[in-house]
Subunit: 422 residues, 2 copies
Amino acid sequence: MALIVHKYGGTSMGSTERIRNVAKRVAKWARAGHQMVVVPSAMSGETNRLLGLAKELAPGKHTAAYRRELDMLASTGEQASSALLAIALQAEGMTSVSYSGWQVPIKTNNAYTKARIDSIDDKRVRADLDAGKVVVITGFQGVDEDNNITTLGRGGSDTSAVAIAAALKADEALIYTDVDGVYTTDPRVVPEARRLHTLSFEEMLEMASLGSKVLQIRSVEFAGKYKVPMRVLSSFTPWDIDLAEEAKSGTLITFEEDEQMEHAVVSGIAFNRDEAKVSVLGVPDRPGIAYQILGTVADANIEVDVIIQNVSKDGITDFSFTVNHADYARTIDLLKEKVLPELGATEVEGDPRICKVSIVGIGMRSHVGVAAKMFRVLSEEGINIQMISTSEIKTSVVIDEKYMELAVRALHRAFDLEQAPS
Amino acid sequence: MALIVHKYGGTSMGSTERIRNVAKRVAKWARAGHQMVVVPSAMSGETNRLLGLAKELAPGKHTAAYRRELDMLASTGEQASSALLAIALQAEGMTSVSYSGWQVPIKTNNAYTKARIDSIDDKRVRADLDAGKVVVITGFQGVDEDNNITTLGRGGSDTSAVAIAAALKADEALIYTDVDGVYTTDPRVVPEARRLHTLSFEEMLEMASLGSKVLQIRSVEFAGKYKVPMRVLSSFTPWDIDLAEEAKSGTLITFEEDEQMEHAVVSGIAFNRDEAKVSVLGVPDRPGIAYQILGTVADANIEVDVIIQNVSKDGITDFSFTVNHADYARTIDLLKEKVLPELGATEVEGDPRICKVSIVGIGMRSHVGVAAKMFRVLSEEGINIQMISTSEIKTSVVIDEKYMELAVRALHRAFDLEQAPS
């Protein structure tokens, strides 16, 4: 008997028929002897509908008092879907109860609309599990120390599920989604992309942060921190498929590197079209310029990703970084108005038509020449590299957006990702 | 400066435009210097939509565990509308915060779907009011001692508003509805029906229990118990009408009999088509027969209204009572199967085509001959009275359904209700 957490996304909860299917699947796991906790998202479309009503009433409001009410509002979506799932489980003959975040309670800070979980009390849930109940817990939300409802931001239900699994020391958190696992890269770009059976937590973290949208990155951080085994699998398989088969489907995010791991040097290729490049040219190379440029940008709440400072020539250097497309115009203006005159730099230029392509693999730690191979492959395809950024287990390059598909396909082939490692 | 509670029904909250109008109206009251608490219902249609989803998933479920989930589900309607109203108030320049029942907290027993309020903590709300905030509190719901969400049953938001007004010792609870007050009778039946400016709490209680659907009867009981002045008024007046005019519109339910009261003998005429008559004939007249008959009915959870036992003749009597239409067939079956054989009565008969017409007036206490006048008027119209039931301030008769309009119009005229009392 294991303690298992299931998480279902909005699409899986999108109608009473789908909710009934979720209940049948969960009941199958419970009847096999497992203690079950289920974390559903709101029915698809519901969160957008509610937030749309708020926007109609207060376009452009952004105070903390407003965000508090947004959380009161949006949290009702998961409360409703959780109650409906408990009802569907009861109709399947289970004893089941649903809880909102505050009833568990799941304690968070008070950063409304993007709160962070501080602690989860497992007493009430554990007592229910020991009494044989299937416990449904709202995803996406918690409660601050003054009993205000908070939400964890978009995709927060993944984080809820993993945090609950951590608090209960669950054996596995199964994240049911509309894809059947994590792929070596996006199959829409590379049809030969292969589903990974296992992936290390660190690789998943890089994949998520580099643009793979399968999991919310904070859920992966949580899984890493508390060592919760986490599996991404499809909610579109028939609910009555063999449990043993279902239990090993999808992709397992794991912490035991040497056991089941597939020993590929590179596990996957991520890409991101959402960034733009900004450069400050002719910067006098003296201590503190990085802070002068990036401090100004950070003060305007603009997030910076890849950062490059060129080697200085005659005491003059160039400084480049990438920002999100949405912040591009604002960043250029800011640099021209504030940074350029203060710094005595010659020019600000930018390019919104870039993309970032990354190879990710825990094997890169112990294999030399992986980055070099990446650069060679791109050069053979005639692709110019504009920026490079590396970490222990990933290498990212910024290239012209029009070469993105070409680069991803060439790298996928060069690192033999269409083949399962032997 | 007064402390005022406003309650808005689902129709008033039916769209973002209507919510904006509610916010403008409340802001007008707040700007006039009043401390404001607002209790909204769910947006119209929302509660039915949610309960409809539950019914699709579990037709025929009626366990306590199921009803607990229904309350989790249905309570989201008011939480969402409350948050939206707080947002609309913020957009009007107010500082505003919304609370669910559990956040106040409004403590109830655990009779899910029809809970009763035990206590309301006023600390948090009072602190907000003193800080100049407009406080929005979800109608219809509370929390039991184990932190489960409960609801108060249909129309429960009226009760919430009055209970909150009682806890805060508010100066008045204004119940905004889609009618502009309490009438001498239903204007759809008697076009000359007149709006009452004031009505005693006891009269309102009789009117509500006798079929006037303007207020939930439990809200009137609460108002009576805690002496909360309560006003029923229209939410369809323009939000910007003069506050002084608005403050004396509608109908005031009052506790000060001798002051503002309109000294009519009869204040209003109520009627109810929802009942059916059941008779047990040829009952041996011995002690305990009423209990034997009604005890069996009560055990089946069937509510009985008017009860008549005829004078005994030769040790044999007839026993009649009315039940709700929905329980009619079940009651007949029950009497035939269980009561008839045990009792040795001769026959069970029933008539679903009856109605109850009642005259209500606090003046009846001190005026003799009011009931006699009622019987005379009905007799002059050729209407046969089947059953009679009286209390200190009302007289009800059960008559053939087809005479209902005729009876109500004749009584309205005979008691001069189209004229304001001098």
